[in-house]
């Protein structure tokens, strides 16, 4: 333990209203702890006052209506994995949940925490981007919904303002779409991504439309690959299309060398994954 424990305080609020008051007063949100406790252990968590959200039942549960599937911010990866509606309509989000850490992490890590932690290497953001997710932010001043695409404004930067909490995530209902998710890491379990990709599209007679591709670990934020998407829709996916898509990937992402991989490896793998998903989609 490299942290000076006495410089921290973790307060347990009785309700979401209490948590919002504490946040307004400067307490920082603390959900399942799977990221923050790692920083804490290594002495890198900023000292100060935190508010424990884990016990707040208002932030739990997955519901579906005609337009949306709505997930409480404390929805764990394990909750996502076993949800039948998500499995049917957004299987890449279930796949991302299954590939995050291993069971003990999936039982404790939360969707809201994963989003707020804002790691560009997180596994669920590409699937959320592809799903067209929106994020509910709540503070004492009120509640607002923001599009998840654009929520991350820079490395570890988000649209969240002081005193705001992520309270819910919603994704549109989906049907008749093909779905793809693949994470490339050092090993199958527990690894943090070198590259991860989520995609979905509509396919008719071997032609893709409404194609959405998002990549993680290849830039300062999780990214939608709009150049690549534009290249691959409404045409025959032949060798020329794949070549153009590979070139477009280079425009969409900005990978770097870091402790987990290199710029070159990430670019090559991202291009290979895009080629794989396009070919798999048209074959389906």
């Amino acid at each position: 333990m490299r942290a000076n424990v006495s410089k921290y305080e973790l307060v347990t609020p009785a309700s979401l209203a209490d948590a919002l008051k504490l946040c307004a007063g400067g307490h920082k949100p603390f959900a399942g702890g799977t990221d923050l406790m790692v920083l804490f252990e290594s002495g890198k968590l900023p000292p100060g006052r935190y508010v424990s959200l884990w016990g707040l039942s208002e932030l739990r549960g997955i519901t579906a209506d005609d337009a949306h599937i709505t997930l409480g911010a404390l929805t764990t990866y394990s909750d996502v994995r076993v949800n039948a509606v998500i499995a049917k309509e957004h299987p890449n989000l279930c796949a991302a949940a299954k590939e995050t850490g291993a069971l003990a992490i999936q039982n404790r890590g939360t969707l809201g925490g994963n989003i707020a932690n804002a790691s560009p290497a997180a596994d669920s953001p590409p699937a959320l981007l592809v799903a067209g997710a929106e994020i509910e932010l709540r503070s004492l001043a009120g509640t607002r919904w923001v599009a998840y695409d654009g929520f991350h404004t820079g490395y570890k930067q988000t649209l969240m303002q002081a005193g705001e909490l992520i309270t819910r995530v919603r994704i549109p209902r989906a049907s008749d779409r093909v779905s793809y998710y693949r994470k490339v890491g050092t090993r199958k379990a527990q690894a943090i991504s070198k590259v991860c990709v989520a995609a979905s599209a509509k396919v008719k007679a071997g032609v893709l439309s409404d194609l959405r591709i998002a990549l993680g670990s290849v830039g300062p934020v999780p990214l939608r690959c709009k150049h690549t998407e534009a290249v691959l829709v409404t045409r025959v996916i032949d060798a020329q299309a794949i070549k153009e898509a590979r070139d477009a990937v280079q425009k969409d992402i900005a990978p770097i060398d870091d402790i987990r991989s290199t710029r070159e490896y990430r670019l090559t793998v991202a291009q290979n994954l895009v080629a794989e998903l396009a070919l798999r989609f048209v074959a389906s």
Binding site: Y8, L10, T12, F30, M37, E41, S52, A102, A104, Q190
Partner: protein, 153 residues
């Protein structure tokens, strides 16, 4: 310092500690239950696995304030439960060598066997259930054999 009322291995307990203290440290140093081991301290190795309300967690990643009212099961609790035969199966199949991963392996295995409700998990299920528990000695096959043997009714 806070007082946290919880059930620890089936008995009412009040755990006293800092709100951010790692459950792992509180279990070992306050409750004096040293069967739970610290490996990596960052949620990678599973040596500190315990069950909270029957759910597998890494106790190094759980702050004390988050176990108020919870039911915590450590390896000491599993040792005298219906899962006692897991321990015997690990011995018979050579599923333990140096032993540091063994408490976590048995906790994760017990959680799997509970989820299976009498069904013997297949190899892929055991591998997935233990994917967060690292062993540097056995090469895992003997552990998988032990879990499947213990799961047989």
């Amino acid at each position: 310092m806070i007082d946290v009322k919880c059930r620890l291995n089936g008995k009412e307990h009040t755990l006293r500690g800092h709100s951010m203290a790692r459950l792992l440290d509180v279990i070992r140093e306050e409750a004096k239950l040293t069967g739970t081991k610290e490996g990596c301290g960052e949620g990678e190795c599973g040596a500190c696995s315990v069950l909270i309300d029957g759910v597998l967690v890494d106790s190094c990643l759980v702050p004390l304030a988050q176990v108020q009212g919870a039911e915590i099961t450590t390896i000491e609790g599993v040792a005298h439960s219906k899962h006692q035969k897991l321990q015997q199966a690990f011995i018979e199949h050579g599923g333990a060598q140096c032993g540091i991963c063994t408490p976590g392996m048995i906790i994760a295995s017990a959680a799997l066997i509970d989820r299976c409700q009498g069904r013997v998990p297949n190899t892929a299920e055991v591998r997935e259930a233990l994917a967060g528990n690292l062993c540097r000695c056995t090469g895992y096959m003997k552990i998988i054999d032990a879990v499947q043997a213990a799961a047989k009714p």
